[in-house]
């Protein structure tokens, strides 16, 4: 019989504990029950603020969801533990559940501390700790924003307060931070750093009041919060108040059951995370370890790992906490690590400040100025990732070199020792990362992340992890090959640039100039890639001259190959809008050619079972009826899905169909690294599922919100917000640039979702290029899209007009009208489908005979 571990609290640390235990307890010695007060699976509280920028609660999920379907793991949500009976070794929940434990872990975290202020219970006063807090805050501000500019106030100028202020500002509220002390982030940075930080925060449009002690929160006449009154007699108007004044450990269960409690709260534990009761551990923010509670996730994760190890008979213990922190507020770079205040006896401080640029940097060194003890970086924290692991070690050369602006100082390359901690969230050392490459065969950043967990929490160590991985791969002689194939040493993005800049326009020229060997003639990887590149650098018909030899069969015959060698035909139905006449025309074509019809997942109609020799006949009929190619076969724009929108729908706020049709006609035929799909919804109800698309547009009453990087398929992703409330013209220009930037720089067969993860700067980088022209290429992209729009022609119509191109559609060169005799169909649900191998065998009595068709390609299935 296995033992029962009960975990109280379903937060970040509880998640890590369960993960670690299930990972290592291969014998199944423990079954685990997690009792969680919040109604959702453990989520990434550290990333809570991203919930404002268009992510939803599901995006915050942590780890592999499979963890919770493990038969040895039970997660009880929405039920708080109210009592611990240490004698009976049971816990009881608010809903009346009782669990007996062999070992109990308290992982109850902290709650936001609300100072005893008059008016703190008014509507419009929020704390900032859970998804529900943030959702309520967001809803409240959005509601108020409908009829005025909202004024926000944040009580507390620490890490959390500044993050909350940034979030309020992003919601459109005009925000002021009130800090009781002399400077912002006083727990992490010194006065000089705090001053530089204040300027940066002001630049975001956020007001800062220092030495500001709030005494009362006054209601507004209309109800809700109205203003704050300060101890110095000052007043601040506010419609919404976020209290970020600190946290208190949720040690109430420990107190009630008589466990030892720390002087300033928290359940006292020893270095093995055991409380004063040896059958109970406490981990995470609720634990008072080495005399203090710690409000960071990395030490919590360390405690989870120790507890898992101890439960399995291990001997690990707490090494002391790494309290390095980095502010996650876009546009404001702040980091603090080690002895940031220079409290070590004899410590020297080296400061570099550029008040104009808003930069303040300080390193704290040992008395001989050689060993790094700590630092504060404000305004430019780029050195953080590489300096933090050097804590307690000798810095090579002059430490001042590390403080100079990037590129100016010639800071020596840091060779990190193997035991240096690189990812403190997940306690991963440089050696472990190197080992992932050398011993576990990881060949890229993604694999190393999956293998070591480095960089999977706050992400601040990622630049360093990436550097280590690349260096290690290079040292191993494993060049991280980005080569397209044996014929090209360049990556697709490099080849795209080379082709664009050199202006070459044929495959032969491309392979002669940029290929690996003169005699090579390419392959099924590089040929279609070059075809796709040339399609946007020097547009021409898919079947023009040598271009035709580069196309996959789908592009070559402009239809989709099916399993039996027949093809499917998809005419464009832009935005999903089709006339009754159009439907009838499609119906008649399908009927006359005996094609199987189906509505696709992309709001249009697919006709299956067309023979190659029938394609021109079918298309002549479709073109005559006003249809054009739907490019269902191309790595190109597929569909722009729409909802019915404001024309008919009683909730619609914009004409989503009109926009979808316009976008589909604009981008039709645009060749790209992989297929591109768009969606347009007429209101926030999102009936077009636009956020599942590469580009999703959602109507607002002020314009359009545009989301990018959505994906269905094997790894579904929700698109992320790129820009809000754009007018139609700006929207179109934004999508133009986004698409072409993707076309230029993505890898072959890389959809937009993984591309955004890998492209320089991620989503923020894309936004900078597309919205702010940070690379200075916007004019170029605009021109390229204009060219695409002008050059567009229906490739099927053009083919039908050219006898030379039509010759490609013969079934056999020596018998152009004889159908492929191997095709065989059987009736099913009123239509026909390809015969299975068995069905063919049944119909083939003797081997050396002409095959007998179950139903020939031309056979009528309906009577």
């Amino acid at each position: 019989m296995n033992q029962h571990l009960v975990v109280v609290g379903g937060g970040m640390v509880a998640q890590r504990l369960v993960e670690a235990l299930r990972d290592r307890d291969t014998a199944g010695a423990w079954r685990i029950t997690v009792l969680a007060e919040e109604p959702r699976r453990p989520y990434d509280r550290v990333a809570l603020t991203s919930y404002f920028s268009g992510r939803d609660a599901d995006d915050l999920a942590l780890g592999d969801p499979e963890l919770w379907s493990d038969p040895l793991v039970t997660l009880v949500r929405d039920d708080a533990v109210t009592q611990v009976d240490r004698d009976a070794k049971t816990v009881t929940t608010a809903r009346g559940r009782t669990e007996h434990y062999d070992h109990l872990v308290l992982a109850t975290g902290s709650s936001a501390w609300v100072p005893p202020l008059e008016g703190a219970d008014l509507p419009g006063v929020f704390v900032y700790r859970t998804v529900d807090d943030v959702a309520a805050l967001r809803g409240y501000v959005e509601k108020l924003s409908e009829d005025r500019v909202v004024k926000g106030a944040v009580l507390g100028g620490g890490l959390l307060g500044l993050e909350a202020a940034g979030a309020l500002q992003a919601l459109g509220a005009r925000t002021t931070v009130l800090q009781v002390g002399t400077h912002l982030m006083s727990a992490q940075v010194d006065l000089g750093g705090g001053e530089a930080l204040r300027r940066l925060i002001n630049q975001l449009g956020v007001g800062v009041r220092l030495n500001a002690m709030t005494t009362t929160i006054k209601p507004h006449r209309r109800g809700g919060v109205g203003r704050l009154e300060l101890a110095d007699g000052g007043r601040v108007d506010a419609d919404v108040v976020v209290i970020a004044a600190g946290v208190r450990p949720r040690d109430e269960l420990g107190r009630a059951s008589g466990l030892a409690i720390g002087e300033r709260g928290g359940i006292v534990v020893d270095d093995t995370c055991l409380t004063s009761d040896l059958d109970i551990s406490a981990v995470g923010e609720v634990a008072c370890i080495q005399g203090a509670t710690i409000g960071l996730v990395a030490p919590g994760y360390a405690m989870a790992e120790i507890t898992a190890d101890r439960l399995l008979g291990g001997t690990s213990s707490f090494p002391g906490a790494d309290t390095a922190t980095k502010l996650k507020l876009s546009g404001v770079d702040v980091a603090s690590f080690g002895d940031a205040f220079g409290q070590t006896p004899g410590a020297l401080e080296i400061v570099w400040a550029d008040p104009v640029g808003g930069v303040y940097k300080k390193l704290v060194m040992s008395d001989d100025a050689r060993t790094l003890l700590g630092g504060v970086l404000v305004g430019d924290a780029s050195a953080y990732a590489s300096l933090r692991p050097m804590l307690g070690r000798e810095l090579p050369g002059d430490p001042a070199a590390f403080l100079l602006p990037e590129g100016g100082g010639g800071a020596p390359e840091l060779e990190l020792p193997d035991d240096a901690a690189v990812c403190s969230c997940n306690n991963v050392s440089a050696g472990t990362i190197r080992g992932a490459v050398t011993e576990h065969g990881c060949t890229d950043l993604g694999a190393v992340k999956a293998c070591t967990k480095a960089g999977t929490s706050c992400g601040s160590c990622l630049p360093l992890v990436k550097k280590l991985v690349t260096t290690e791969l290079a040292a191993q002689g494993i060049a991280v090959s980005t080569a397209l194939c044996e014929h090209f040493a360049l990556s697709r993005a490099q080849l795209y640039d080379a082709v664009r800049v050199s202006g070459v326009s044929s495959f032969t020229q491309v392979i002669e100039r940029f290929g690996t060997r003169a005699e090579g003639r390419g392959c099924d990887i590089c040929r279609p890639t070059v075809a796709s590149i040339l399609a946007t650098t020097s547009p021409a018909h898919v079947l023009e001259g040598e271009r035709a030899t580069l196309q996959d069969t789908n592009d070559h015959v402009m239809a989709n190959l099916q399993k039996d060698g027949s093809y499917s035909v998809v005419p464009r139905i832009a935005g999903g809008e089709v006339t009754p006449e159009g439907l009838i025309a499609i119906g008649e074509v399908a009927k006359d050619f005996g094609l199987y019809t189906k509505i696709t997942g992309g709001q249009r109609i697919d006709m299956f079972g067309a023979r190659i020799d029938q394609l021109p006949l079918i298309w002549q009929r479709l073109v005559d009826a006003g249809f054009e190619s739907g490019h269902a076969y191309g790595k190109s724009l597929r569909t722009v899905k729409s909802c019915v929108g404001s024309t008919w729908c009683r909730f619609g706020v914009q004409d989503s169909v009109a926009l979808a049709v316009m976008l589909e006609l604009r981008y039709r035929g645009l060749r790209s690294p992989h297929k591109i799909k768009l969606g347009v919804s007429g209101c926030a109800r999102e009936c077009a599922e636009a956020r599942g698309k590469d580009v999703g547009v959602i109507a607002t009453d002020k314009g359009w919100n545009v989301y990018v990087g959505g994906n269905g398929g094997f790894t579904p992703r929700h698109a992320q917000l790129l820009a809000e409330d754009l007018d139609t013209e700006t929207l179109v220009r934004t999508i133009d640039r986004f698409l072409l930037y993707y076309v230029r720089t993505a890898d072959r067969l890389q959809r937009t979702a993984p591309w955004i993860e890998e492209v320089e700067g991620g989503l923020d980088g894309v936004r900078a290029v597309v919205m702010e022209d940070s690379l200075g290429i916007a004019a170029d992209l605009d021109e390229q899209m204009a060219l695409h729009v002008v050059e567009y022609e229906d490739e099927w119509k053009a083919t039908l007009e050219d006898p030379e191109k039509l010759r490609r559609f013969a079934s056999f060169v020596n018998a152009p009208d004889t159908p492929d005799p191997s095709l065989a169909y059987v009736p099913e649900r009123g239509q026909s489908r390809p015969a299975t191998a068995d069905e063919r065998d049944d119909a083939r009595p003797t081997p050396h005979h002409e095959p007998v068709l179950v139903a020939g390609a031309r056979l009528e299935v309906r009577s």
Partner: protein, 124 residues
């Protein structure tokens, strides 16, 4: 090649009927043959039947080349699941992780081809 044993040459089409570096199917009695005209003027013939997908599609694959033991050989990739075949020998160079259907051989049958007076003839 099996040129010596060839008894019958059948004219199939004119060379101009074949686009360079693109295949075309031809009917030879009950055999379906895939013909490929290379840039250097050579015409090669392999079976149209794709052993991996069990469909008659090889002529519709992408023509290219691959370095095999230092020699550049002309290739075709099946349009269905992208197996790569040596056009001169029919040998499957890359099974793309798949096994052929119904226990078939992964390699393609080849036919000798000659071009005379601008006519493409396939030998049997």
């Amino acid at each position: 090649m099996t040129t010596l044993e060839t008894a019958v040459w059948t004219a199939v089409c004119r060379v101009q009927d074949l686009a360079p570096e693109r295949g075309a199917a031809a009917l030879l009695g009950s055999d379906q043959v895939a013909l490929f005209r290379l840039l250097d003027g050579r015409v090669l013939a392999v079976q149209q039947h794709d052993p991996f997908s069990d469909a008659h599609v090889i002529s519709r694959g992408i023509v290219g080349s691959r370095s095999v033991d230092g020699v550049e050989v002309p290739t075709v990739a099946s349009p269905m699941y992208k197996q790569v075949f040596d056009l001169t020998t029919g040998r499957c160079l890359d099974a793309a992780g798949k096994t052929p259907a119904r226990g078939l051989s992964p390699d393609l049958r080849t036919w000798p081809v000659r071009v005379s007076d601008g006519l493409v003839e396939v030998g049997r």
